[in-house]
C-alpha cells in the first residue's frame, strides 16, 4: 500500500476545523472580522485540500476502501466500536462536496455576516457565527467519514446541534419584521423534528446491534444477507426505522416541517446546512446502507414513494410562497425528495450525482438570495425617511418578501446572472448541471416505477414554474418597493463565491456525462450500482445513448420549458404591480389558497400533536407537578410529616434524652463540686490532717486485711 501515508491524513478533516473553531473561541473577541473569517475559511479550505488528497489517493490505489483507525472508543464485552475513518469513493465524494461548497460559503459569509451583524446592531456575534460554522464542518466530516453507524450517529447529532445553534443565531434579536421568539422557536422546531427522526435512527441501530452484534459497516454488510435469509423481517424493520431518521434529517414527509422554518437562520446557514450538506445526510445514510436496502425491495419502494410524494408535495407549496428563501426551502425539500426517490429505486449513482449537483446550484441560489436580501436591506437603509431621523420607520419592511422586489436585474446584475444560472440548473434546462442529474433520476423512474415517474415529472414541472415565477418577480418588471429601487450590488467577497458556484452549476453535469459515466465508475468501488431494469424494458425506454434516453430527456426538457413559458405568461409578460395579488389566485382559486397556506400542515400538526403535547405539558405542570406533587405530596405529606418528625426529634428525643444527659452530667458535676469545694478550705494544716488520716487508713487497711 504505497498510499497509506496519504490516507493517514484523514483525521485532519475533523481536527482542522476543530483547530479553527478553537482559535476563534479563544482569540475571537480580540481579532478583527477579516482575521476571524480567514481563519475559519482556511480551516474549511484545508479540509477541502485534504479531501482532494484522499480522492487522489483513492484514484491512485484503484479506489479500494481504506480504513484508518484513530482510537478505541467503546469496548464492552464483544462490542467493539473504534473511532475509525472509512475512506472510500462514497465518503470522499461527500467530503469534497461538504468542504468545497462549505469553503465557498465560509468566504461568502465573511461578507454577508459583516453586513448582517451591522443591520442587526450586534457585531460581537461575528466570531460566534464562524465558530459554529467550523463546528458544523467538523461534525459533518465525522458523519461522512465514520466507519460505524454509531460514529455516523455522532456526526448526525452534531450537525443537528449546529443546525439548532445557527437557526437560532438571532435567538433574542427582535426586529420589526421578526420577533425573537420566531427565531428561537424555529430552532427548537428543527431540533425536535430531528429528534423524532433520530429516534428512528436509534431504533434501527439498536435492532442492528441486537441481530448483527455489531455496528461496524463492514461487519453489518457482510452478514446482512445471512440474516435476511433467516429472519426476513429484521432488515425490513431496520431499513424502515432508518427511513424515519431520513425523513427527519432530509426533511421528507412527514417530518419536513422544520426546514422552511429553518430559514430563520442567516442565509449562509440556509445555504450550507439546510440546502447543500446537512440535509443530504439522510440520503447519504441510505446510499451508505445500500446493501441493506437492496435486500428488501418493499422498503425501497416505500422510500421511493416517500421521496416522490415529498418532491411533488413541497413543489406545490413552493408555488404559493412569497418569501424568497421560503420558495428555495420548499424547493430544497422537493429536490431532496428527488434524491430520496432515486435512492429508493436503487439508483444510487443518479442520487449521488443529483446530491452533488444540487449542492452546487442550491447553495448558489440561497447565497444569491442572501445577496438579494442584503441589496434590499441596503436599499431600505438609503431611503430618505430611514436616513432622516428616528431610526426605523413605523412600516414593517421584510427584505425577503418577493412582493417588495422587482426590477433588481438592473441594480444587481451579477446577482441576477448567477441567480439565473442557478434557476436554470434547478429547472433542469440543457446543458446546465441539473438537467443531467435530474434526467438520470427520471429515466430510472420511467424504467421502473411509472407512478414515481409521474410524481417526479410533475414535481419537475412545478420546479421550473416556481423558479420562473421567482425570477420574474424578483428581477424583472418595476420595483414594488422603494427599497428595491435603491438596492445595490453586493461586494466582491460575496459575488466571487457566487460566480464560482455558478461555474460549477454550469459544468457540474460533466461529473457524470453519458458515455463517460465518470461518477458511476468512481462510485462503483463503494456501491454496486444495481438498478433492476425490470424484466423487459420495451419500446422507447430501451433506447440508451450511453445512459441517456433521448425521449425521457426531451420530455423533461419540454416540461420545464412549458412551465417556464407558463410562468412568463403569468408573471413575466406583465409583471406584478405594487400591491397586486398573485395572478395564480384567480386562476386556481381555493387550490392556490391551499398552496399558499402549505396545506395547513403546520396547523394540523399543531392541532393534532403540538397542542396535545402542550395540553399534556400543561396538565403535568398544573395538576401533576403543582397540585399533586407540590401542593399535596410536598406540602401536605412530606412537609407535614417532616415537621411532625422534627418536632418529635426536637422535643422528646433531643430535649428529653440527649440534652438531659449532658445537663444531668453538668448538674452532677456542679453539685458534687459545690460539696467538694468546702474541703479545700485553704488551711495547710487541715490538708496535712487529711494526708495523715489517709495514711492511717491505708496503713490500717494493710495491717488489718
Amino acid at each position: 500500500m504505497e498510499n497509506s501515508g496519504l490516507f493517514s491524513l484523514v483525521p485532519l478533516i475533523v481536527f482542522l476545523p476543530v483547530l479553527g473553531l478553537l482559535t476563534n473561541i479563544i482569540f475571537g473577541q480580540k481579532l478583527n472580522e477579516k482575521a476571524i473569517g480567514i481563519i475559519a475559511s482556511t480551516a474549511s479550505g484545508l479540509v477541502f485540500v485534504v479531501s482532494l488528497l484522499l480522492g487522489y489517493g483513492l484514484l491512485a490505489s484503484g479506489g479500494h476502501e481504506q480504513l484508518v483507525p484513530l482510537a478505541d472508543w467503546i469496548q464492552i464485552g464483544n462490542l467493539s466500536i473504534p473511532w475509525q475513518f472509512r475512506v472510500d469513493t462514497l465518503s470522499v465524494t461527500m467530503m469534497l462536496v461538504v468542504s468545497g461548497v462549505g469553503t465557498l460559503i465560509h468566504i461568502y459569509a465573511i461578507g454577508y455576516m459583516h453586513e448582517d451583524v451591522r443591520f442587526k446592531n450586534d457585531t460581537k456575534r461575528y466570531a460566534r457565527f464562524f465558530v459554529f460554522m467550523n463546528l458544523f464542518i467538523a461534525m459533518m466530516m465525522i458523519l461522512v467519514s465514520g466507519d460505524s453507524y454509531l460514529m455516523l450517529f455522532v456526526g448526525w447529532e452534531g450537525v443537528g446541534l449546529c443546525s439548532f445553534l445557527l437557526i437560532g443565531f438571532w435567538y433574542e434579536m427582535d426586529t420589526l419584521a421578526r420577533p425573537s421568539w420566531a427565531n428561537s422557536n424555529a430552532a427548537k422546531k428543527a431540533f425536535i423534528a430531528n429528534r423524532i427522526g433520530d429516534f428512528g435512527f436509534l431504533l434501527a441501530a439498536f435492532t442492528m446491534f441486537w441481530y448483527f452484534g455489531s455496528l461496524q459497516f463492514g461487519e453489518v454488510f457482510a452478514s446482512a444477507e445471512a440474516i435476511a435469509a433467516s429472519q426476513p423481517g429484521v432488515i425490513m424493520a431496520i431499513t424502515l426505522f432508518m427511513l424515519i431518521g431520513v425523513t427527519g434529517k432530509s426533511a421528507q414527509i412527514p417530518l419536513f416541517v422544520w426546514l422552511p422554518d429553518a430559514m430563520a437562520g442567516p442565509t449562509p446557514v440556509s445555504a450550507l446546512i439546510h440546502a447543500a450538506t446537512m440535509v443530504t445526510a439522510g440520503v447519504y445514510l441510505v446510499a451508505r446502507s445500500w446493501s441493506l436496502f437492496n435486500l428488501v425491495p418493499e422498503a425501497q419502494y416505500i422510500v421511493a414513494l416517500v421521496g416522490a410524494f415529498t418532491a411533488l408535495f413541497s413543489a406545490t407549496i413552493a408555488v404559493g410562497q412569497y418569501d424568497i428563501k421560503k420558495v428555495l426551502a420548499y424547493s430544497t425539500i422537493s429536490q431532496l425528495g428527488f434524491m430520496v426517490a432515486a435512492v429508493g429505486m436503487g439508483a444510487y449513482v443518479a442520487c449521488m450525482f443529483h446530491l452533488v449537483v444540487h449542492a452546487f446550484f442550491k447553495a448558489l441560489l440561497f447565497l444569491s438570495a442572501g445577496s438579494v436580501i442584503l441589496g434590499m436591506e441596503r436599499g431600505h437603509h438609503h431611503l430618505p425617511h430611514h436616513a432622516s431621523g428616528d431610526g426605523h420607520s413605523e412600516e414593517v419592511f421584510d427584505p425577503g418578501d418577493m412582493r417588495n422586489m422587482g426590477g433588481l436585474r438592473k441594480q444587481m446584475p451579477v446577482t441576477f446572472w448567477v441567480y439565473m444560472i442557478g434557476a436554470l440548473a434547478l429547472a433542469g434546462i440543457f446543458p446546465f448541471a441539473g438537467f443531467w442529474s435530474k434526467d438520470e433520476i427520471l429515466l430510472d423512474a420511467a424504467r421502473n416505477h411509472t407512478l414515481i415517474y409521474i410524481l417526479l415529472a410533475l414535481a419537475a414541472f412545478l420546479t421550473a414554474f416556481y423558479m420562473g415565477r421567482q425570477i420574474w418577480m424578483v428581477f424583472f418588471g418595476k420595483a414594488r418597493h422603494e427599497a428595491a429601487d435603491h438596492a445595490e450590488e453586493s461586494p466582491k467577497v460575496i459575488t466571487v463565491p457566487l460566480m464560482v458556484l455558478a461555474g460549477l452549476s454550469i459544468l457540474g453535469g460533466a461529473l457524470n456525462l453519458p458515455y463517460l459515466e465518470n461518477l458511476g465508475h468512481w462510485l462503483e468501488h463503494s456501491i454496486e450500482a444495481v438498478v433492476e431494469h425490470g424484466a423487459e424494458i420495451q419500446g422507447y425506454l430501451a433506447i440508451s445513448w450511453g445512459g441517456l434516453n433521448p425521449v425521457v430527456a426531451l420530455i423533461s426538457t419540454l416540461v420545464a420549458l412549458v412551465a417556464i413559458f407558463l410562468s412568463w405568461l403569468l408573471y413575466g409578460r406583465r409583471t406584478l404591480a405594487k400591491g397586486e395579488d398573485d395572478p395564480l389566485r384567480k386562476l386556481l382559486g381555493p387550490i392556490y389558497k391551499v398552496f399558499e397556506n402549505k396545506y395547513w400542515v403546520d396547523e394540523i400538526y399543531n392541532a393534532v400533536f403540538v397542542n396535545r403535547f402542550v395540553d399534556l405539558a400543561g396538565f403535568l405542570a398544573e395538576k401533576v407537578d403543582w397540585d399533586f406533587w407540590h401542593d399535596w405530596l410536598h406540602d401536605s405529606v412530606i412537609a407535614r410529616f417532616f415537621r411532625w418528625f422534627t418536632k418529635f426529634l426536637a422535643n422528646p428525643i433531643d430535649l428529653g434524652i440527649i440534652d438531659a444527659i449532658s445537663n444531668g452530667l453538668a448538674n452532677i458535676t456542679q453539685r458534687s463540686s459545690n460539696a467538694l469545694r468546702k474541703v479545700q478550705n485553704g488551711f495547710v494544716r487541715s490538708y496535712a490532717l487529711s494526708v495523715l488520716m489517709g495514711m492511717v487508713l491505708i496503713l490500717g487497711y494493710l495491717l488489718l486485711k
Binding site: 474541703v679 479545700q680 485553704g682 488551711f683 495547710v684 494544716r685 496535712a688
Partner: protein
C-alpha cells in the same frame, strides 16, 4: 548481743518522735514551728531506719537515712526561702493566713 537496748525501745522512741512531729504540724500555726515538727517526723523515721538496720545487719537502712537527711537539708533551704518570701508579702508566717486558694 547482751547489754544492748532492745529494738522495741528504739521503735517506741521513734514513734513518740514521729507523733510529736505530726502533732506539731497539725496544731501549730507558725510556719517555722511546723518546719521543725517536720524535722522531728523525719528524724523519728530516721531513727526507725537506723534501728532496724543495726538489728538486722543491713546497710541499706543506714544509707537511706543519709538520703533523708540530704533531702531534709534541701527542703529546709527551699522552705526557709519560701517562708522569707511569704513574710515579705504578708508580714506574717502564720500558715492559717495563707488561705487565698481556698475553694
Amino acid at each position: 548481743m547482751e547489754g544492748t537496748i532492745p529494738l522495741t525501745y528504739y521503735i517506741i522512741i521513734s514513734a513518740i518522735l514521729f507523733s510529736m512531729g505530726a502533732l506539731g504540724v497539725l496544731i501549730r500555726r507558725n510556719a517555722l514551728i511546723i518546719f521543725m515538727s517536720i524535722e522531728l517526723m523525719l528524724n523519728g523515721a530516721n531513727l526507725a531506719f537506723v534501728a532496724f538496720a543495726r538489728n538486722y545487719h543491713v546497710i541499706t537502712g543506714q544509707i537511706f537515712v543519709f538520703f533523708v537527711m540530704t533531702v531534709a537539708a534541701a527542703e529546709v533551704a527551699v522552705g526557709l526561702a519560701l517562708i522569707v518570701a511569704i513574710f515579705r508579702s504578708k508580714n506574717s508566717i502564720d500558715v492559717d493566713q495563707m488561705s487565698s486558694l481556698k475553694g
